[in-house]
Each structure stands twice: as C-alpha cells, then as structure tokens.
C-alpha cells in the first residue's frame, strides 16, 4: 500500500511536470469549457423560449457536469499516449506497484480539474448563475463533480489502454463530445421524444448536472413525473453512477495495465 501511494505520487508529479512544460495545452483545455459556456449561454440562450437569464442559470451546472465528463477523454489520451510511445512498457519493467500509474494519472487529472473548475464557476457567477444554498451546497456540488470526474478518468484510462493506436483513442475521445448532448446538461429533457428522454435520463451526465442544480438551488432541478430513478434522485444517482463506474473500471484498468498488451 505504501509503495502504491509513493509510486502513485511519483506518477502524479510526472503528470504535473508534463502540464507545466506544455502550458498552452493546459490553458486550452481549461478555457474550452468557458468558451462553450459563453457560446451556449449567449448564442443558444438568445434563441430559446426560456428567458436568457434563466437558461444561463440552468446551463452553468450542465457545463460543469459536461466538463467533469471530459475526464473520459483526458484519461483516454493520457493512457493511449503512454501505451503507444513505450512509456507504459518502461513502467511495467520497473519493480513498482501495478496500480500506481493509473492512480497517479487520475489523481493528477483530479487536481488540475479542481483548479480549472474555479475559473469556470467564476465566469458562471459573472453570467448571473448563483449558489442559492450557501457553502454546504457549493461544496457538495464540487464533491459530486470531482467524484464523477475521477470515475470518468478511470473509464478513459481503461479505454486508452485497450486502444489500437493513439489516433484511434483521439478519434474516439473526440466523439465523446456527443455524450453531454444526449443529457440534460445543455437543454431540458422534457421536450425530447420519449426514447431519447429515456436515454438522457439514464445518462450519468444528466444526474450530475441535475445534482449540481439541486445542491446549488438552481432552476431545472425538479424531475418530471415518471422520470427514471437517477433523474428523480440526482444526488444519490450521481454518487451511485460514479461509484459503480469506479467499481468496474478501477479493477479493469489496473488488470489491463498489469497484463499489458501481450
């Protein structure tokens, strides 16, 4: 266990050093959600039936959830890059803990995300979004978001490890941008056709977005009658989703890392 933490710490340091050497990439990934927030909030928001200010209050939690889901993409890129550039094999020949690399990488991702969420929230506040429920609610929302980010990073790590090439991981990773579109992150599900609404209500991103709305006391937190369980119980739903994903993908990714590519 102490080797796991110490080796994981070494890998975490490595990830932060990498970020420091490529500040442009870090700035790009951190400002992307802000750009999207402004774009959706003022371009889409101006054309919706919902008043713009109300939509922006609805949108900020959705974008926070979509950004947390981005852990999937980051996890995939990170794992695929190491796997296909021989770095993973170098690690695997060292007398180190087998789980340390995925753990260190997902933990580093968690740290940079936590730091990146703050400017996103500040822009949200500037756009009129408010935390109506005080510090406890804000901290709860922050926790739900980070737990989901951590889970998605593990899913991504597994997918990156099994990817056929860096390019394949890149393409699949870019395709994950549709996941928030099939959720209540950007738009309410009420107007969707029933089959699509079922997909959206079971989408963990919906649960996380709604949980943040509920914890912050924002519009759009109340579920429609007959909504699926995660949509009706967003906080419990998000935590359950995140834990379930971790339960499945932590062992999968760790075993895959230990077993290698054959």
């Amino acid at each position: 266990m102490s080797t796991l933490l110490s080796d994981g710490g070494a890998v975490l340091t490595r990830q932060l050093q990498k970020a420091r050497h490529a500040p442009a990439l870090l700035v790009l990934t951190q400002t992307m959600p802000i750009t999207m927030l402004l774009f959706f909030g003022y371009v889409f928001g101006s054309a919706l039936a919902m008043p713009g200010a109300e939509y922006r209050e609805f949108l900020v939690p959705g974008l926070l959830a979509a950004t947390a889901a981005g852990g999937l993409m980051t996890g995939m890129f990170t794992a695929a890059q190491d796997a296909h550039r021989g770095v993973t094999d170098r690690f695997r020949t060292l007398p180190m803990s087998r789980a340390a690399v995925p753990l260190g990488q997902t933990a580093a991702d968690l740290l940079t995300t936590a730091a990146g969420t703050i400017p996103l929230m500040l822009v949200g506040l500037a756009m009129g979004w408010r935390v109506e429920s005080g510090w406890a609610g804000a901290l709860g929302a922050f926790g739900v978001l980070l737990l989901f980010r951590f889970a998605m990073a593990w899913v991504g790590t597994y997918l990156g490890l099994i990817s056929a090439s860096e390019e394949a991981a890149g393409q699949l990773g870019s395709a994950t941008f549709v996941l928030p579109l099939l959720s209540s992150a950007y738009l309410p599900t009420a107007g969707m056709p029933s089959w699509l609404r079922a997909v959206a209500e079971w989408n963990p991103i919906s649960a996380v977005a709604t949980a943040v709305r509920e914890l912050c006391g924002n519009a759009g937190a109340e579920a429609a009658a007959g909504a699926a369980w995660p949509a009706a119980h967003p906080v419990a739903g998000s935590v359950a989703w995140s834990l379930a994903l971790l339960l499945v993908f932590v062992p999968l990714a760790t075993r895959r890392f230990a077993r290698g590519r054959g």
Binding site: S6, Q17, A100, R261
Partner: protein, 339 residues
C-alpha cells in the same frame, strides 16, 4: 567451476493468434557476458525480450532471469533487470533530469539517493548539458543514451537492449556501442537484439542467430565464421584465364567456384583450415594462371547469415572512422547483488 546463467530459457513459444512469433527458443547466457540475438525483422527477437523482461507471458516453455522464473516471480525479475526498448521509451514531455528522477523514484531511490543517481548517470552519458530540456527536442541519439541511462537506474544485473541503435546515425551508434562495451567491461550481463551483423560482431561474446522464432545457430562471432569457412578470391589479368583459375580452385577446395567476368575474379568457399593463401597462389602459378590479386579472408557475418537462413539480413549504415567518437563514460561503482 559451474557456469551461472543470467538468462536461461527452454522451449519458449509465443503465439499471437495464428502467428507463431516464437517456436521453441532455447537461450543460455552466462553471467557477465554479452549475448547478441541476431535476426531479421520478424524473427522473434522483440518477443523474446518482452517475455524475458516480464512484459508478456510465454504460450509455452520456461525462462529464468537472474535466477528467477519470469512467470512465477516477475517482481523479483524486475528488481534485477534494466530494459532499453526498441523505441526510446522515455517521456518526451519531460526533461532528461525529470525522466531519470521519475524512474529513480519508481525504482525505490527517493530523495537524495535518487538525485545522486540521476546526476551520476547524466554525467556518465554526457547528458548534463541538455538535462534541463524537454527530451522531445533532443536528437535521436541523445534520447537513446537517456533511454540507456534510464535502463541502468536500478543498477541491473541483467541489461536488455532491444535494437539499441536502430535508426541512429553512425556517430550516435558508436556512442551507444562504447557505452555498452563499458558496461560489459564492468561485468554486467547484456542481452541485445540487433539486425545489424556489425553490431553483434562488435559487442557480443556469443551470438544466437534466430530466424522464424527459433535459434538456428549459436557460437562466438569467430566460431560462427569458422563454421561457414573462409572465402578465397582470385583476380586474373584476362577473362580467358578465368576457367583455368576456376579449375585449380575447384581441385584445391572441392567447392563450386563462382566466376565474375566483369571483375575478372573467381571466388570460392574454403573449409579446409590447412589451405593457405601462398598454397593457393603457388598452385595457380604452377598452372600458368596470370594472377594479379588474391585474398583469403574470414567471411563477414552477412555471408554467415546468408548461408544459415538463405536470406540476406538488413545492412547497417557503416560508421565512418572519424565518427568513432566514444562516449565519455566515467567509472561507476557497481553494487553487486547477492544471487
């Protein structure tokens, strides 16, 4: 005195679906020697190294590295080995120093011990000046030296080098060769794979020629050459004299002389070690063959390979003499591990 083997494998097999990468590879590398695993692309060299370094398991067969079974005691094997991959497996997004510090930490060298080992290796491989720069900006040869340094972080008893100079220019290749020679002189056991005959000839005490997933010949570079025989080549002053020269060489060697009309030469393989160059020249002179040039030389490893496998191996870029600049390798104290 019994020989201790640093690497020992019996009947190693590895299948990837329908592809048989290894078909029963036996290896025995005595401690403190350099073994060259020589073969063309796809011969199974990299697969063998991946099994021996615990990166993948064999489909059948057994292997022991530094006294430990690779499938049953992989952790013990990892503590005893250093690996330098076919492609530089350092992190391109980190500086050289950060890379070594990372691998040192992961190998259990924390704090001051890791810093000291890092600086020692940077110095040894002449990397101190570039150590603060991100390695993606380095030249291929410099990166490969860092990769070699990373493989040495644990002071390994057995070092695996998978095609350590593939894709390098002659100067960089000489630097890697010098570094490997120094390691071998210090007593490390080295198993290196290569498709360059010159590399195996220069570095290895023993060569295992592998093709199609199994060893087809084993021996010292000189021993392998002796098995194939020497090569006699005679140049005459007129093309008309070629058949007569060929007849004499045929009588002397029983080989089948090959005629080259354009260069006016006759070449033949000589397996009789008692046959000397003066003997050949005297016989030709007695037959009235107007000889202008004659040679009897050891076969190159290319010829060895051609004879053993029927295919020509990949040829390396020949390093130029002035490129033969050796890496300044400082003496490093080696901590001997008890077996």
């Amino acid at each position: 005195m019994t020989t201790t083997y640093a690497v020992l494998s019996e009947g190693l097999e590895k299948n990837y679906g329908e592809v048989h990468a290894l078909r029963g590879l036996d290896l025995a590398v005595p401690e403190g020697t350099v073994c060259g695993l020589l073969g063309p692309n796809g011969a199974g060299k990299t697969t063998a190294v991946r099994i021996l370094t615990t990166l993948t398991g064999p489909t059948a067969g057994r292997a022991r590295v530094a006294g430990h079974d690779v499938t049953r005691e992989p952790a013990a094997v990892r503590r005893a080995i250093g690996v330098t991959g076919q492609y530089a497996s350092v992190d391109g997004d980190l500086t050289g120093r950060e890379n070594l510090r990372l691998f040192a930490r992961l190998a259990g060298l924390r704090g001051r011990a890791g810093r000291a080992r890092t600086e020692e290796l940077l110095e040894r491989f002449g990397l101190t000046e570039v150590a603060g720069r991100v390695t993606a900006t380095w030249s291929g040869g410099t990166r490969r030296r860092l990769d070699l340094a990373a493989g040495l972080i644990t002071r390994p008893r057995v070092l695996f080098l998978d095609e350590p100079t593939t894709g390098l220019d002659p100067a960089a290749r000489e630097q890697i060769w010098a570094a490997v020679r120094t390691l071998a002189d210090e007593g490390a056991t080295v198993l290196l794979t290569t498709q360059y005959l010159e590399e195996a000839d220069r570095l290895a005490d023993d060569i295992v020629v592998i093709d199609g997933g199994r060893a087809i010949a084993t021996g010292t570079p000189a021993g392998l050459k002796a098995r194939i025989g020497s090569r006699a080549e005679v140049t005459v002053d007129a093309a008309e004299a070629l058949p007569r020269a060929a007849a004499v060489l045929d009588r002397l060697t029983g080989g089948r002389p090959a005629l080259d009309e354009e260069r006016r030469t006759v070449g033949v393989t000589v397996s009789d070690a008692g046959l000397t160059l003066p003997g050949i020249v005297r016989a030709l002179d007695a037959a009235g063959v107007p000889v202008t040039d004659a040679s009897l030389r050891q076969p190159t490893l290319d010829e060895v390979f051609l004879r053993l496998t029927g295919t020509a191996p990949a040829t390396p870029v020949t390093p130029t003499a002035q490129a033969a600049q050796a890496t300044q390798a400082t003496q490093a104290t080696r901590k001997e591990h008890a077996a």
